[in-house]
Symmetry: C2
Subunit: 214 residues, 2 copies
DNA sequence: TGAGAAGCGGAGAAGGTAGTCCACTTTAGG
DNA sequence: CCTAAAGTGGACTACCTTCTCCGCTTCTCA
């Protein structure tokens, strides 16, 4: 449906099956290790040769867009839902929460949203679907007077990018800093939050560094 | 003086000269490209063979500690000076400013401070010199009641680590988000800051992504 | 059922980095 | 000045990743 390949040439049945195996393998590997996993690894996990992976997805974009376009679209829908909420602040907060949670569970997805420029125009376009939703939510928050006027949409993107580096499957640490930064951008109309999660320990810090190391 | 090599074996004069060439080359390359530059590149820039670089600095730590120990010590001194300031808030703020500025101008230095765990115990020890100063500054800020009680030293380390990803030689963007964070961690005793620097543009965002890409 | 097209995968070339080896050069010091 | 020790650097091995080539297999459809 989102896949133009099928329109051009109906794949032979075995080839179609292999394609699905590749997509599934890439989904797992991207989630675990990010978008830069070697094609060899993808082929091995899928049980096909490298050449087959290259034949089906000559550019890494092809694979990335195939895998993540739907997920970004889902998030965009969450953005639309957030716009339906009565409270502008809650809506914005909820959208950020959704976007961050999605990234927290999938390293590849986090890279799609924060470093799309590295993977070509098509990936940028894909990730860009979220932009208008965020812009609308920020605009509405401004009109409600709940965020300081000098903070814009791009600032939110930056702040979320920063938060990503605090994401780790075992801790909710990123929520703690999300709370700090939300406290930093509100007006006095919004009461301060209590900080979620405990202060990080030495071990937390180490884990994070190792996780984000190449 | 900080260099134990000279105590063990006085290097032959030509070897000592080469050693300095290597250190100088590594200083430049680390600053430009981070701590992971190939040894081949260091040798080439220094005008010596790779083998010479390996002979003098068999472990990358050796090179890193040689280069950065003094710089960390200097920063630690800035921390002591910050503790001398009358105002607890100004002192803490000034120290963070100093640490961030040092990292902004040198990618390698930023890695030493934020990812020391990747480069071995000796680098960790080196970077750890800053910890007690930060702890003292934070403690004093708590006593003065200028930062919220649930924020600790480790939080500052995390916040600075996040800010690093916003550092770019051409923009003062990181100061903008430093201001947001500081607004998020103060008590009401401290008045809000006006945000420095403009909102980031699309181009700023791209530049940052490309800068931090491997 | 048997071409012919479509698909397959291992091998291998190309390009990059870590780290070592050893024949050669330079220095120190008697 | 001459020699022994110290130092040198390029070539080399090992390893990893990307991407292609081509002989072989599998499917499709008449």
């Amino acid at each position: 449906m989102t896949d133009s390949t099928e329109l051009h040439q109906p794949l032979r049945r075995d080839a179609a099956r292999n394609r699905e195996l590749i997509v599934a393998a890439a989904r797992d590997l991207f989630a675990e290790s990010g978008l830069d996993v070697p094609y060899d690894d993808i082929g091995r996990r899928a049980g096909v040769g490298v050449a087959t992976v290259y034949r089906r997805f000559p550019q890494r974009d092809d694979l990335i867009v195939t895998l993540f376009d739907q997920r970004v679209a889902d998030l965009a829908k969450r953005g639309d839902e957030a716009l339906e909420m009565e409270d502008a602040w809650t809506g914005l907060r909820s959208f950020v929460e959704k976007v961050m949670t999605a990234q927290a569970g999938d390293r590849g997805f986090a890279q799609v949203l924060t470093r799309s420029a590295l993977y070509g125009r098509r990936v940028e376009t894909c990730a860009g679907q979220l932009h208008p939703r965020l812009a609308a939510l920020v605009e509405r928050a401004h009109q409600a007077g709940v965020i300081r006027p000098d903070i814009g949409t791009a600032d939110f993107e930056m702040l979320m990018t920063m938060l990503i580096s605090m994401v780790h499957p075992n801790t909710g640490l990123w929520r703690r800093y999300a709370a700090v930064f939300f406290d930093g951008i509100t007006t006095d109309l919004v009461p301060r939050e209590r900080l979620p999660a405990d202060q990080p320990t030495e071990a937390d810090l180490r884990q994070l560094v190792l996780r984000w190391a190449h």
